[in-house]
């Protein structure tokens, strides 16, 4: 694990999932099943938001669990179990996204997958232009808008945001999971929220939709610079 080392005793005492993982280390199938059961939905949701394809998210979640299982003999409790799990998830998702973009399928897949494809960008643009009657957008549309807004974030911003929002992780835990410093995470999350706000602002104020272009290039550059430092 990366990040600051804390006394391992703390995690064994304070994190029941670490204790389960120690049982997995001793080849307890029941303990592994319990961990899978506890984390499967959380993991699939985070991965689904990262790759925008449910089937792939499940496959990747299984890959994450298998990596956990295969490395059980070398496991040492140097962090919370969830932090370790999402470190692996981050790596698996990054690899998957890289291979997807190599095959140049990522855009096709993200548009054609899921239940929300009845709301393509063209429909939203029409709504935003005022051609459609002004109305309150329904739940599915709202979800699709937020999902598309999330897509405008870069991979790191999205991962940090998901871990913070849906996993309730502290900056320190996110930093450990993503192998970054706490100030870098603070900056990453701040930029992610500012970027999301700039995309969602028209919708928030008027109830209409207006999808702006992805994150400004200047912002990306300054973020990369900060992370490099």
């Amino acid at each position: 694990m990366s990040g600051k080392k804390r006394p391992k005793k703390n995690y064994v005492e304070t994190d029941p999932d670490v204790r389960l993982m120690l049982e997995v280390r001793e080849d307890s199938a029941a303990a592994f099943e319990e961990l899978v059961s506890r984390y499967q939905t959380r993991l699939i949701n985070v991965l689904n938001h990262l790759v925008n394809k449910r089937d792939l998210a499940e496959d990747l979640a299984q890959e994450v669990f298998m990596r956990v299982y295969r490395s059980r003999k070398r496991y040492e409790p140097g962090a919370k179990f969830s932090t370790w799990l999402f470190t692996i998830a981050n790596n698996v998702a990054s690899n998957a996204r890289r291979s997807l973009s190599r095959r140049k399928e990522v855009n096709v897949m993200s548009r054609s997958s899921g239940e929300l494809r009845a709301y393509p960008l063209a429909t939203m643009a029409e709504a935003a232009s005022g051609l459609m009657p002004t109305r309150q957008l329904d739940k599915l549309e709202r979800a699709e808008i937020v999902r598309l807004a999330m897509e405008t974030l870069n991979e790191r911003q999205r991962m940090a945001l998901l871990l913070s929002k849906f996993e309730g992780m502290s900056y320190q835990d996110i930093a450990d999971s993503m192998d970054l410093s706490v100030p870098a995470i603070k900056s990453l999350l701040s930029r992610a929220r500012v970027n999301l706000k700039s995309v969602l602002e028209p919708y928030m104020s008027a109830g209409n939709i207006s999808m702006k272009s992805p994150v400004p290039e200047e912002s990306e550059l300054s973020e990369a610079k900060e992370l490099a430092e």
Binding site: D27, A29, F32, E33, V36, S37, Q40, T41, I44, N45, N48, H49, R54, A57, E58, A61, Q62, F65, M66, Y69, R70, G114, E115, L116, K139, R142, A143, V146, R147, M150, L161, S164, K165, S170, Y171, K186, S187, L189, S190, R191, R193, V194, L196, K197, L200, E201, M204
Partner: protein, 167 residues
């Protein structure tokens, strides 16, 4: 961090990135007590800052509308099956690893066997040379002699023994 005496800002976007970081950290509960108290005091006086905080908070709440998915019914079962397969592979791999010392010993034995066999064959050649030394030594004479029968006739006539007696 920011000018605490101003009550309004124009334009609202004039909030710096450091201020954004602070507001986000405040919403995430990541500010220490002193920074928290300082920011809250500033929020009381700065409407623009309050507005920014509200906007950021709304954006955060909007993420709740992201679709949630559940694992398929057989996810746990299929993951456990994969774990079982992995365990079997591990044990096969481990037994392969356990065979390595045996393989190395067999290889060493084969090398030693080859070495001694080649030495024995070499010694066998030497032994033949020693046994035939007398013939080799007189090979030129034997060539002049022509055939074995002729030499045997000469031997019967005492040609070779006469020479030895003279010596």
């Amino acid at each position: 961090m920011m000018d605490g005496h101003s009550t309004t800002r124009s334009p609202v976007n004039a909030i710096s990135s450091d201020e954004h970081d602070e507001l986000v950290a405040y919403l995430d509960g990541e500010l220490d007590e002193a920074s928290c108290a300082r920011l809250e005091a500033q929020l009381l006086e700065d409407e623009a800052l309050q507005m920014k905080l509200n906007e950021l908070s709304k954006v955060w709440d909007m993420l709740d509308s992201l679709p949630k998915v559940a694992a398929t019914a057989d996810f746990t079962k299929s993951t456990m099956e994969m774990a079982v397969v992995s365990t079997k592979r591990e044990s096969t791999g481990n037994s392969g690893k356990r065979l390595w010392p045996v393989r190395i010993l067999l290889l060493c034995a084969a090398v030693l066997l080859g070495f001694f066999a080649s030495r024995w064959m070499q010694q066998d050649d030497d032994r033949m040379l020693v046994e035939d030394f007398a013939v080799i030594e007189n090979l030129d004479l034997y060539r002049v002699g022509g055939s074995i029968e002729f030499l045997e006739e000469l031997d019967e006539q005492g040609l070779f023994t006469r020479g030895q007696n003279r010596e």
